[in-house]
Amino acid sequence: MDYLPYLRKDKFPHIWCEGCGDGIALKAILRAINNLGLDKDKIAMVSGIGCSSRTPGYVDFNTLHTTHGRAIAFATGLKLARPELTVLVISGDGDATAIGGNHLIHAARRNINLTVLLYNNHIYGMTGGQVSPTTPMGDFATTAPYGGMENNFDIAGLTIAAGASFVARSTVYHAKALERMIEAAIKKNGFSLVEIMSPCPTAYGKINKKGLPKDLVLNQKTQAVNLEKSKTMSAEDLRGRIITGILADREIPEYVNTYDKIMSSAQRR
């Protein structure tokens, strides 16, 4: 596919590091958008702060780079004002689950038709490698010099419990599967989340001795295990693995639709 029509070419080469998964994730997003034949004028991409959140600057849509953790809140207002727009939220593990956790929970609870593409690199990359709610226990970070001592966020579990219609996870390595998941997520009329495992060789990889930049992406081939297979494996065997696939896909009334119905009846009175 020709990506150039979707890019703000004069901004390239992009700022992401050598071997960073974010560029691979973006390509999957653009392929999904291309498959769906969406009009660029009717796409809004809203992001928070972090490496993930630099994404909107590189694409030729209506782009909104907001404050740390708050992309979903801005996106909620935009979606309500312009329900005909396809509103994509690009966020990171820190942005969406630490400072932005509350907004993630409530948008999922409302089941508002947003598609959240959450780039999980297990670290706060942009600011130099501080520990994040998804840094694996024992792994190092600049603010976890003795190793992380906190349990991780089960992002999928959280959003499913909160009420999301569609939740999926993929690595960037499995680029075609990722593309299909993103396509399904955008198509879904409800709150969708795709957790994209996008490795950070610079901040996370180096301090945790994960090898060369390319190794973090290439190793995802064997790290990933699909959902069905994972159900047959023990917790011990699942340690260090990434469970991928569509984790939830259900039909739930969508928030803007519900609001519109109420609005119609209020107007009739």
Binding site: D2, Y3, L7, F12, P13, H14, W16, C17, E18, G19, C20, G21, D22, G23, I24, K27, V172, Y173, A175, K176, L212, P213, K214, V217, L218
Partner: protein, 73 residues
């Protein structure tokens, strides 16, 4: 007559991560002067893995095309 596969690399955008070189199943690509380069285009099957996994939008693959005659040759 077959239209050969073409792999075009934007050397300015390429950051030299080597993912494409490693992922290629047919060793089409090599690293040279810190960027990826096409070494053996005849081996390219058009699997697109290098393009799919390039983080830098730096590699574009145009798979080989077979002309209509090739089916009976």
């Amino acid at each position: 007559m077959n239209q050969k596969a073409r792999v075009i690399i934007n050397e300015i955008w390429c950051k030299g991560c080597e993912i494409c070189v490693d992922i290629c199943p047919r060793k089409v690509l090599v690293m040279q002067d810190f960027v990826a380069k096409v070494d053996d285009i005849d081996q390219c099957t058009g699997c697109m893995m290098c393009e799919l996994l390039c983080p830098d939008f730096a590699i574009v693959v145009h798979p080989a095309e077979k002309s209509k005659k090739s089916i009976t040759e």
